[in-house]
C-alpha cells in the first residue's frame, strides 16, 4: 500500500453549499430585485423582476422518499423544459422555473402525464410534511409515508385546486415528539398506555439518570427489579409521552393496539394577520390501521369540508375557529367535545374562557 493510499481522507468541512451555482440563471440574474408576482393558474406562480424579466414556476407534488429513477425522470423533465434547474419547497414539492412562457403548458402536461400532480399553490392543501415512520425511524408507532400517501390520494383534488378559504398545511408525526410539526391539521400518534419495561435489558442499555431526567412528570425512578438495576414507572403519574423510549428502548411505548392517532387543528407558523399559534386537540383514539388509515382520512376530510364551507376568504383554519368559536367548530364537524379537550398542563388556565363571551 502506498503512502497516499494509507493516508485517510479527512472531510472537507465545506458547510452549506452556495445556491448561486445551481440556481436558474434568470433567478440568479435578478437576485434580490423582484417586483411583483401573481398566480396565472393553480400550480403556477408568475414572478416579474424589476428588470422586466419574467419567470413561471410550476409546482408539482412528489412522494418525498424517491428512488433514483424517479429523480432522474424529474431531471429529464427539467432538462427538457426548465433549463436543467429545479428547486424543492419545504414540503417536498418540486418547482420548475421557466423563463419562456410557451413552455409552461407543455411542462404541466408532461408532469401530469408522468404522474406528478401540479398544484400546491395558493389556497390549496399542499403536500403533507411528515416524519420517517416505519421506513426508517427507531421510535415510530405508525408509518408516515403510508399515512401521507393515503391522505394525499384523498386530497388530490384539493392539491390540484385552490378552493380552500386560505392555504392548508397538514403534518403527520409517528410519535409524540412530533418532528412533523404544527399544522392547520396535525395528525399525530398518541400513546395511551405507560411503557412496558423489559427489566433484563435496562441496566445494559440505558443511562438511567438520563432517562429519569427526561420524564416531564417525574414518574420514573431507579429501582432494583429481580436483583438487577432497572427503572420503574409510576403509572398513575405517567402521561404516556414516550420521552423515555428513545434513550431507553427497553421501555417500549409503542403498542399495536394502544398507540392511537389524534388530530389537532389550528397550528399556524406565520405572523400573517394573527400571531403564530399552536395546534389544538380535536379528536383522539383513532385506530392505527395500515395500509390506508381510513378512519384518519375520514376525520380529516370532515374537518376540511367544514372549513371549506364555512371559512371566509383568507381565513386560516385557526382564524376561522377564532371567529365561529369552538362550540360551533365541534357542531359543524360533528366531533365530540370531552373532558380531555380541557388543558391541564403547565399554563393550562390560560386556555380557559374567562369572560362572558359565549357562542350559541
Amino acid at each position: 500500500m502506498s503512502e497516499a493510499q494509507a493516508a485517510p481522507r479527512m472531510p472537507d468541512e465545506c458547510g452549506v453549499p452556495d445556491p448561486q451555482q445551481y440556481m436558474h440563471p434568470t433567478l440568479k440574474k435578478n437576485y434580490g430585485a423582484w417586483d411583483w408576482h401573481d398566480r396565472p393558474r393553480v400550480g403556477v406562480l408568475h414572478h416579474v423582476a424589476k428588470s422586466g424579466d419574467e419567470v413561471w414556476t410550476v409546482k408539482a407534488g412528489t412522494q418525498r422518499q424517491m428512488d433514483v429513477h424517479t429523480i432522474r425522470k424529474l431531471c429529464d423533465i427539467a432538462d427538457e423544459f426548465a433549463d436543467g434547474h429545479v428547486r424543492f419547497t419545504t414540503r417536498s414539492n418540486i418547482e420548475y422555473i421557466v423563463a419562456d412562457q410557451s413552455k409552461v403548458d407543455p411542462l404541466i402536461k408532461k408532469l401530469e402525464g408522468e404522474g406528478f400532480p401540479v398544484g400546491g399553490t395558493g389556497n390549496s392543501v399542499s403536500m403533507i410534511s411528515h416524519t420517517q415512520g416505519w421506513l426508517h425511524c427507531d421510535i415510530p408507532a405508525t408509518d408516515a409515508s403510508g399515512v401521507v400517501k393515503s391522505l394525499m390520494d384523498e386530497l388530490y383534488q384539493e392539491f390540484t385546486n385552490e378552493q380552500m378559504p386560505n392555504r392548508v398545511k397538514i403534518t403527520t408525526s409517528c410519535c409524540q415528539i412530533n418532528c412533523g410539526g404544527q399544522g392547520d391539521i396535525a395528525i399525530n400518534i398518541q400513546h395511551t398506555k405507560p411503557p412496558v419495561i423489559n427489566h433484563d435489558l435496562v441496566a445494559n442499555v440505558c443511562e438511567r439518570p438520563a432517562v429519569v431526567a427526561r420524564c416531564p412528570v417525574a414518574a420514573i425512578r431507579p429501582a432494583l427489579v429481580n436483583g438487577k438495576p432497572s427503572l420503574e414507572v409510576d403509572e398513575k403519574k405517567c402521561v404516556c409521552c414516550g420521552a423515555c423510549y428513545p434513550p431507553c428502548p427497553p421501555m417500549q411505548i409503542n403498542d399495536a393496539e394502544n398507540s392511537k392517532l389524534a388530530i389537532w387543528v389550528g397550528g399556524k407558523h406565520s405572523s400573517t394577520r394573527s400571531k403564530p399559534s399552536f395546534h389544538k386537540l380535536v379528536v383522539a383514539g383513532l385506530p392505527n390501521t395500515p395500509p390506508r388509515w381510513p378512519e384518519v382520512s375520514k376525520t380529516v376530510m370532515k374537518i376540511l369540508h367544514a372549513y371549506k364551507e364555512d371559512g371566509r376568504a383568507w381565513e386560516r383554519m385557526n382564524e376561522w375557529i377564532d371567529r365561529i368559536g369552538w362550540p360551533r367548530f365541534f357542531e359543524l364537524t360533528g366531533l365530540p367535545f370531552t373532558k380531555y379537550h380541557i388543558e391541564d398542563w403547565r399554563g393550562g388556565r390560560n386556555s380557559l374562557n374567562a369572560s362572558n363571551h359565549v357562542h350559541f
Binding site: 472531510p11 465545506c14 458547510g15 452549506v16 453549499p17 445556491p19 448561486q20 451555482q21 445551481y22 423582484w34 411583483w36 401573481d38 414572478h47 414556476t57 412528489t62 422518499q65 424517491m66 428512488d67 429523480i71 432522474r72 429545479v86 428547486r87 424543492f88 419547497t89 419545504t90 400532480p117 416524519t131 420517517q132 416505519w134 421506513l135 426508517h136 427507531d138 408507532a141 408509518d143 403510508g146 400517501k149 393515503s150 394525499m152 415528539i177 412530533n178 410539526g181 404544527q182 438520563a210 431526567a213 416531564p216 428502548p249 409503542n254 397550528g267 406565520s270 405572523s271 400573517t272 394577520r273 394573527s274 399552536f278 395500515p290 395500509p291 390506508r292 383568507w314 403547565r346 399554563g347
Partner: protein
C-alpha cells in the same frame, strides 16, 4: 432474500393518484444485478412486516465518518434474521444548498453515488432540511460520504449539536424578501460547523431564515434562533394599482379581504379608492401585501426581527420563539457579521447554561428572559413582550437604576 417479497399491504399504497413511494421501492428492488436490489427487497419485506404487526423494527447505534461525530443516522434491523440484506440501513444527512436550488447535473451525480454505494432511495428533504440518503450499510458510509463531499456537499447535524438549517426561496425569487436569506444562513451556519460536526451541546440547536412574516420555513415555531425579515419604514403603495384591485374585487371585497383583516386596524380605503395606511400601527404582518401583490410592497429600510427559543413538544410543551431583537437593519457586510456574532453569542450561552437535554426555549423558561438577555448582552425592549407583567410578586429595589438605563438609551436614540 433472493426474491421480491409478497407485500399485499404495501401494494395497496400503489393505488390512487398521488405518486407512490412504494412503487419507487419496488423499482429499486427490481434492479436485478444492482447492489441495491437485494437491499430493497429486504427492506420491502421488513416494511410489510411493520404494516402487518403495526410496529417498527429499527434500532439506533453508532456509525460515523472520519473526523465527524454526527450526521449519519444509524439504523440496525431488529428482524435481520428474516430480512438480512437491509440489516444495516443508515441515513446520511446532507446539507442542501440554501433555498434548495439544484441543477440536474448535480442531482444526477447524487443519484449515481447513491445507486452505487447505497439503496438508491433519497428523500428531498427531511424536516430540518437535510437531503436524506436513506439506506446504506456500515461499510459504505465512509465511501458514500467521501463521494458526496467531493461534490461539495457536507454532512448535516444530528444529536446534541447544531442542526441543518433552512431558508425560504427569498431573494432568489420573492419580491417580499427583506434580506439575503441564503447569505445569512450560510454565514451563520458555516460559522457553527464545529458544533454541528462534533456535537457537544446540551441538546439540539436549530436556526432558520425566513424573508418576511409569512415565515415560509416555519422559523418562529421550529427553531431556537429564528431570523425573520421585516422593514422599519413605510409600506410602499402604488395607488394606481390599488384602484385596479378595487375595480376587480369591489369596495366590499377590498374592505372584507384587506382592510378589515388588518390585525392592527392600520388600513382604510379612501373615498377615491386609494388606500390609507397608518404605518405607525402596522406590524408588518404581510396580509395586505399578500393580497395586493402589485400595489403594495415592503418598505426600503429592510432588516430582520430575531426570535429565540421555538421548539416542539418535549419536554415542557410547545414553545414559540420570543423576540430578542425587534429590528436590525441588514444592508452592509457589517450587518451580516453582527448577525453571525449574535448567533454565536446565543449558541455559546446555550452551551454553557442549558441543562442536559434542554432546548434554548426551555432554558429561557427556567432561568427567565431577563437572565437570558443579560447573558447575551441585549437590552430590554417593549417589543419583546405581549404585555408587561401582571404579578406583583417581585422585588423591585433596582427600579430607579433601570429607569435611568432606559432614559439614557432613549435619550441617546432621540439625540441621533
Amino acid at each position: 432474500m433472493a426474491n421480491k417479497p409478497n407485500t399485499p399491504m404495501l401494494d395497496q399504497l400503489e393505488g390512487g393518484p398521488w405518486p407512490s413511494f412504494v412503487t419507487g421501492l419496488k423499482r429499486l428492488a427490481d434492479d436485478e444485478g444492482k447492489s441495491h436490489a437485494p437491499i430493497m427487497k429486504s427492506l420491502l419485506g421488513q416494511l410489510e412486516h411493520s404494516y402487518e404487526t403495526r410496529k417498527g423494527y429499527w434500532k439506533g447505534g453508532t456509525i460515523g465518518v472520519r473526523g465527524y461525530g454526527a450526521g449519519v443516522i444509524p439504523r440496525f434491523s431488529e428482524v435481520a434474521g428474516d430480512y438480512p440484506e437491509s440489516s444495516e440501513f443508515h441515513t446520511l444527512r446532507i446539507m442542501p444548498p440554501a433555498g434548495m436550488h439544484y441543477d440536474t447535473a448535480i442531482l444526477r451525480k447524487m443519484c449515481d453515488i447513491w445507486e452505487k454505494h447505497g439503496s438508491g432511495l433519497i428523500a428531498f428533504h427531511g424536516q430540518s432540511g437535510d437531503i436524506m440518503f436513506q439506506g446504506c450499510d456500515s461499510e459504505n458510509v465512509q465511501t458514500s460520504f467521501d463521494a458526496l463531499n467531493e461534490l461539495g456537499f457536507d454532512l448535516g447535524g444530528a444529536g446534541a449539536g447544531v442542526r441543518t438549517s433552512m431558508s425560504c426561496v427569498g431573494a432568489a425569487r420573492c419580491e417580499q424578501s427583506c434580506f439575503d436569506e441564503a447569505k445569512a444562513l450560510r454565514m451563520v451556519i458555516n460559522n457553527m460547523l464545529d458544533d454541528m460536526h462534533r456535537p457537544s451541546l446540551p441538546y439540539k440547536f436549530k436556526a432558520k431564515f425566513s424573508g418576511c412574516g409569512n415565515d415560509c420555513v416555519n422559523a418562529t415555531h421550529r427553531s431556537d434562533f429564528a431570523v425573520l425579515g421585516t422593514w422599519a419604514d413605510d409600506i410602499k403603495v402604488n395607488q394606481d394599482e390599488v384602484k385596479k384591485y378595487v375595480a376587480t374585487l369591489g369596495r366590499k371585497g377590498v374592505n372584507d379581504q384587506v382592510v378589515n383583516m388588518c390585525p392592527t386596524r392600520a388600513l382604510s380605503l379612501n373615498d377615491d379608492d386609494t388606500l390609507e395606511i397608518d404605518n405607525k400601527s402596522c406590524v408588518r404582518c404581510m396580509h395586505c401585501i399578500n393580497v395586493m401583490t402589485k400595489a403594495l410592497s415592503p418598505g426600503d429600510e429592510k432588516g430582520v426581527t430575531i426570535l429565540a427559543g421555538g421548539k416542539r413538544t418535549l419536554k415542557i410543551g410547545d414553545l414559540m420563539g420570543t423576540v430578542i431583537v425587534p429590528f436590525h437593519r441588514m444592508e452592509t457586510e457589517e450587518d451580516y457579521e453582527w448577525l453571525v456574532e449574535l448567533s454565536e453569542t446565543v449558541l455559546e450561552f446555550f452551551a454553557e447554561n442549558a441543562l442536559e437535554h434542554e432546548r434554548t426555549g426551555e432554558m429561557i423558561e427556567r432561568i427567565g428572559m431577563i437572565n437570558f438577555l443579560d447573558g447575551i448582552g441585549l437590552d430590554v425592549d417593549p417589543n419583546m413582550v405581549s404585555h408587561p407583567r401582571t404579578s406583583s410578586y417581585i422585588r423591585m429595589d433596582g427600579w430607579d437604576d433601570e429607569v435611568t438605563k432606559w432614559n439614557s438609551r432613549h435619550g441617546a436614540a432621540a439625540a441621533e
